[in-house]
Amino acid sequence: MGKRLKATESLKRLIKNYYDEFFEVSRAGKPVAWLNVGVPCEIFYAMDVFPFYPENYGAMCGAQRVTPELSKVSEYKGFTQDLCSYARANIGALLAKKGPMGELPLPTLQVETTNSCVMIMTWWRSVGKLFNIPTYTIDAPQVKYDSDGFHLDYMEEELKRMISFVEAKTGNKFDYDKFIEITKIANEGKRIWAEILGLRAHVPCPMNAGDIFTHMFPMVALRGKKEYLSHLEFLRDELKERIENKDFPVPDEKVRLLWDNLPIWYDLRLFDELEQYGAIFVIDTYTQAWGPRFMGIVDETNPIKSYGYYVGSGFLNVQIERRYDLLRELVKQYKVDGIVMHSDRSCKPYSLVQPELARQVREELGVPSLLLEADHNDQLGYDREKVIARLKEFIEMIKTNKL
């Protein structure tokens, strides 16, 4: 149970180096931008502005189980408990000047995009106001299926306005040639990421969900860096090796599951725990946000517009039709027996369509779903025993139905 990947050691080094660089760059007074995960880091690497992702830091707070303590600080300031737990942890850490990495140095500027939720916008707004940080919001009106026509033109204009804002605030110029080089590396990495996700379709599956969620980090923060490519290659090769050597987390798979929504960061072991019942999470929707379907290959001949397309058509910026199409594709491609929908109190746009999606998947594909209420980052009120009991029942039900 819980067979670890060798690539995890390489990942730890990547994360450490990234945070070391973040602190070093901040100490040196070089420009740092806090971005939400929908904002392409490639543009910032091309401008020599260090991209830092508070959502990633939020996940770290969750994994280290410090969110409730940090939330209290933000709640004391007047922020509601209904605010996304990432935001509560991040704002609390800034106000308290403490957290998993100690006191976080404040950025030169912030950029966020509205392509996921209202919460991100209010989170960036709060940090901007509390600490007087110049903030740019890339407007990305929600689309039905993807960005096209005048919507796509608007997305391109928005990215150009954002670049001008960053140039004005940092004095750093946007280097187009460097940007193309970075985009090429990022594209190559996305191809490898697609391969990695594809390898999980193998029966038995070579990688459980806990590992893939952990390995999302380079896809979020390091796209365009050379070390990102080498790490992804290492991970892909290790999965190929596992398949070749028949070295699987659950060799005798009984139930193949799909996880919908963010993981429960403070309980990533939950996935491993279920391996003893012959169940493995072979795919998830969250990592698809960085996969070929939602953050595909950027057109190197028209890159700003192409990035605009992917920002405008981001995973949480599309409507239920595309979410359903994704589930249908994944269920078929990965031979999924059941779906666990994490109904995440801290992520309304992801969660509030799940009952409807569950119904469609059951009626049209005959695949059952379990709606599991939790919070991705705040463990208060999380009853692990009850969660495992419900998952066990669900797995047993699927096994019985397969007989």
């Binding site: 300031k77 509601t80 009106p141 239920i320 309304k348 509030l352 009952p355 409807e356």
Partner: protein, 363 residues
């Protein structure tokens, strides 16, 4: 005639189209000879909707979904959602998938309130209302849009005048009576509203001073008259507000100089994008400034900040409103409820304590 029966009656002769927030430009619907109605919450408890959307969805949004499931909105020819909050977004997806009205349109709204967004938004308005016209076999004509802009501007001016009288103390009516008229402006036919407005002003105009405690209500949305009745009973008089069916609904006019449909669409887009913002838009500085203006111009003694359960964006905005009110020395209270005021007794106790606190300051 009350809300539902009034709209059912209208729908016998005219298409009625519902909308959900203060960003839907009713000018276009009026120009298409469609009756626009901002849907209001009612007393229904969530029942059928529980199977379609989780409990942490905004209860106000969920109530509208429940009304649709219970067939209380069958008089609608269609509905139009905008990109507003994350709860309404969830409700939209269910409404559309379950086909709860003959058509469901969605305005891919700009969230950022920058003038640069107006060109995009104008095109989006024209796309959506062209679709609406096709559903109902109607066409958007220049003269009709021009007249509609003027008509809605006139309504806004009437509401501005009403609030001005209220703030000056020249309207002797309860908060409940006042808001009954204000909210009716979001669903009454223009002629009916103008008639009611005139009657109201005639009936309530006087300068009798009231010994009530003047407050301003700040919220995302509260269309429940029961809340204003409760404030009246405690001894408050709501002299102005910062709510989306109150001042944020009527402040700012559409520029009437547009000559063709594209120009007019841009003028409409500019008004909606630059008006006092709700907390789901960015940035929100103007909202706090407008709130301060309402407090100062009405000589209010305090602010009641009301948050609907699970409303995350208001829960963030409150932190900054609170900071500003404290800085300005304005007494305020933060309360939470739902559209049915299901915690009415608890609210009453807290609001009574707030009244005592303010009276202690005044006297």
């Amino acid at each position: 005639m009350e809300y539902f029966s009034y709209l059912q009656n209208i729908s016998k002769t005219k298409n009625v189209v519902g909308y959900f927030d203060t960003y839907m430009p009713e000018e276009f619907l009026i120009a298409l000879a469609i009756h626009p109605v901002r849907l209001m919450s009612d007393e229904l408890e969530p029942s059928v909707s529980n199977a379609y959307i989780q409990g942490f969805c905004c209860p106000y949004a969920k109530n509208l979904l429940e009304q649709a499931f219970q067939r209380k909105l069958d008089f609608l020819s269609g509905v139009i959602f905008t990109r507003y909050c994350d709860s309404l977004r969830g409700v939209y997806e269910v409404w559309k998938t379950e086909k709860l009205s003959p058509f469901v349109e969605y305005i891919r709204y700009a969230q950022v309130t920058r003038e640069e967004s107006a060109g995009y938004l104008a095109k989006e308005f024209l796309r959506v209302f062209d679709n609406v016209g096709k559903y109902l076999n109607k066409q958007l004509l220049t003269d009709n849009l021009k007249r509609a802009i003027s008509q809605v501007n006139e309504k806004r001016k009437m509401l501005m005048n009403l609030y001005s009288m209220r703030k000056k103390g020249s309207l002797s009516c309860s908060s409940e009576e006042f808001y009954k008229l204000v909210f009716s402006s979001t669903y009454l036919d223009n002629n009916d509203f103008v008639a009611d407005y005139k009657k109201f002003v005639l009936k309530h105009s006087d300068n009798k001073s009231q010994s009530k405690i003047k407050v301003v209500v700040s919220a995302a949305e509260i269309d429940t008259l029961e809340f204003f009745k409760l404030l009246d009973e405690i001894g408050f008089s709501v002299v102005s507000d910062d709510i989306s069916s109150g001042t944020r609904f009527f402040k700012d006019l559409v520029c009437e100089t547009g000559e063709d449909i594209n120009e007019m669409a841009i003028n409409i887009a500019k008004r909606y994008i630059l008006k006092p913002p709700c907390s789901v838009k960015e940035p929100t500085e103007r909202r706090i400034e407008e709130l301060m203006y309402e407090i100062n111009s009405s000589n209010a003694k305090g602010v009641v900040f009301l948050r609907t359960h699970f409303c995350d964006s208001e829960g963030v905005e409150y932190a900054f409103i609170k900071e500003r009110l404290e800085k300005e020395g304005v007494p305020h209270i933060y309360v939470e409820t739902d559209h049915r005021l299901s915690n009415k007794q608890q609210l009453k106790t807290r609001l009574e304590a707030f009244a005592e606190q303010i009276e202690g300051i005044i006297f």
